[in-house]
């Protein structure tokens, strides 16, 4: 069984904590040690960011980490090499989150095959929307048991949320706010209403919230009526400040 599904089913009431980090940052060979550190700190799931030159849904923190990773020589092939033979030590679900162009260059089929060989469970490709996915790539994802994760936002219509729900088979990535990653504002009434509204829609997929979650308070707000939350920019910021040795302390401050 796909590890994401397993994780979501084994304890449905648990609020999952998921972490995003950019592969190859701060140092190209940090990927595996960060993954181990996250797993040991009790993180439930990880999104490994595939660095891209033009990350247009990301704010400055993730942009800079991508730029730095690329500059120090991170590539798709290098990431795959790092992850090879590590699936015994790391048993939490792993997703790759990346923009579509590097995947297209690698070859979508070859990319998916490689992901499945090294134990990647799902893909989040922000610029591969539902329509294009269904038009050309759905069969390939299914062939390799990779769960596609689609995003919804406060502006997504109910009708489209339902469409995305029926095309998804893992979880729905609920973007908290109309903003790129790394928002600083915290959550207000508007977000609470949105979390509430969508959680009451009776969707078949669990909801995991991302964008703008940075501490215990925002984690709790985001997960009050959903199944979990993803921390990205705030995690990278802590890597900037404290390096990989600060990881477990950071996770403790969240839950």
């Amino acid at each position: 069984m796909n590890r994401i599904k397993q994780k979501l089913q084994e304890n449905p009431s648990k609020k999952l904590l998921s972490i995003y980090f950019t592969a190859g940052y701060p140092e190209p060979e940090d990927t595996v040690s960060i993954l181990l550190e996250l797993q040991n700190s009790g993180v439930d799931m990880v999104e490994i960011g595939l660095p891209f030159s033009d990350p247009l849904a990301d704010g400055p923190v993730i942009q800079r980490s991508s730029e730095a990773a690329l500059k120090s020589g991170m590539t798709t092939t290098r990431l795959f090499n790092q992850l090879e033979n590590n699936r015994e030590a790391i048993d939490i679900p792993l997703l790759i989150m990346g923009y579509f162009n590097p995947i297209l260059q690698y070859g979508v089929e070859k990319f998916c095959r490689k992901c499945s060989e090294i134990g990647i469970d799902g893909l989040i490709i922000p610029d591969l929307p539902l329509e294009e996915y269904q038009l050309q790539y759905k069969e390939i994802f299914q062939q390799y048991d990779l769960l596609p994760v689609f995003l919804i936002t406060p502006q997504t219509s109910e009708e489209r949320i339902k469409e995305i729900d029926s095309a998804s088979d893992g979880f729905i990535y609920m973007v908290s706010t109309a903003a790129v990653t790394g928002g600083k504002k915290g959550f207000g009434e508007e977000q609470k209403k949105y979390f509430h509204r969508v959680s009451k829609m009776g969707l078949k997929n669990p909801l995991i919230v991302g964008f703008g979650i940075k501490d215990r308070e925002t984690f709790q707000q985001a997960t009050a009526e959903t199944n979990g939350a993803i921390i990205g920019s705030a995690f990278i910021k802590q890597l900037n400040d404290h390096g990989t040795s600060g990881i477990s302390n950071f996770i403790k401050t969240i839950r």
Binding site: D54, L56, T77, N101, P102, L104, P129, T153, A178
Partner: protein, 393 residues
Amino acid sequence: MSYQVNEKGYYGDFGGAFIPEMLYPNVEELRSRYLDIMQEEDFQKEFRQLLKNYVGRPTPLYFAERFSKKYNTKVYLKREDLCHTGAHKVNNTIGQILMAKRLGKNRIIAETGAGQHGVATATVCALMGIECVVYMGEIDIKRQAPNVARMKMLGAKVVPAKSGSRTLKDATNEAIRDWINNPVDTHYIIGSVVGPHPYPDMVARFQSVVSEEVKKQLQEKEGREAPDHVVACVGGGSNAAGLYYHYLDNEKVNIIAVEAAGEGVLTGKSAATSALGREGIIHGSKTLLMQTDDGQITEPYSISAGLDYPGVGPMHANLFRTGRGEFISITDEEAMKAGLDLCKLEGIIPAIETAHALAIFDKRKFEKDEVVVVNLSGRGDKDLNTYIEHFNL
């Protein structure tokens, strides 16, 4: 076979809408409404009226007699340089500002490289009294100071794009990020036939006034609507799309697309996308794209800021792949010389972008009685500094 967009938003293998979900409501609203809005009588009336009285259309189709004599063929110049603001860009911004109003948007964002599209956008925003924010690469802001000042005089806010390589592609990224952050009240006026569907088609339709006029004008002058060749420079490809538009499916008309070779196609300092690009995704569109083997978008180079884009509109990618278009690349040096030649031969100072299109006559022969229409996409005032430096004027 048609070279126009299909109902899924593709030109052959190219196009589509590869956008993050955050942009979906805006892009989908535009997609579902743009054709209806453009066909409204009231929209057409206002669009035509502004093109005539504000932009100064129709622009002349000028028979370049001395230029023709030099190259022993019949060359007509479509004088987009005579448009208000000095280039074809304004045809699109007039159309899009009217579109934005009908979509109920009250804030405009745009990207710009050389500043021509930024100026054209700031201009129509001033005309309509709408807030305008233009993203421009930090490096381009330094290179194009007069256009930055123009935008400011017109009331626009110019925001430096400080990410990535700090040029046009990054300005476009920043504009897209702004749109993600402002999903309700804002319309993004993209500056060329690039971006997610329906942008390439919408911009091509607004620019198609160029070939609509050429058809009529050529009928008067030559007794036929269609020339033998249509020639345009291609950055993103909007002036080219405008000139090709009504001839796309008439295969008797040869389409010539001119790209910037920079210092030479193989020097590593080039913007010749058809020669150097591979299929990829940039700014929401599947198209030909200059990139590394790992799929990272690379920085193009051309002396002309308006051709300095690592991709090309999906219409043109399809013209290249299908062989419908003939693609020629022109170096900085060749373009600069052709620009100066036109000054001396015809008394017209062309934009350096446009000079690339003119430079093909030194490389490619045409028959004596063939009719060649070149899109004179813009005037060279904005490029005086480059001309001065290059020729020690």
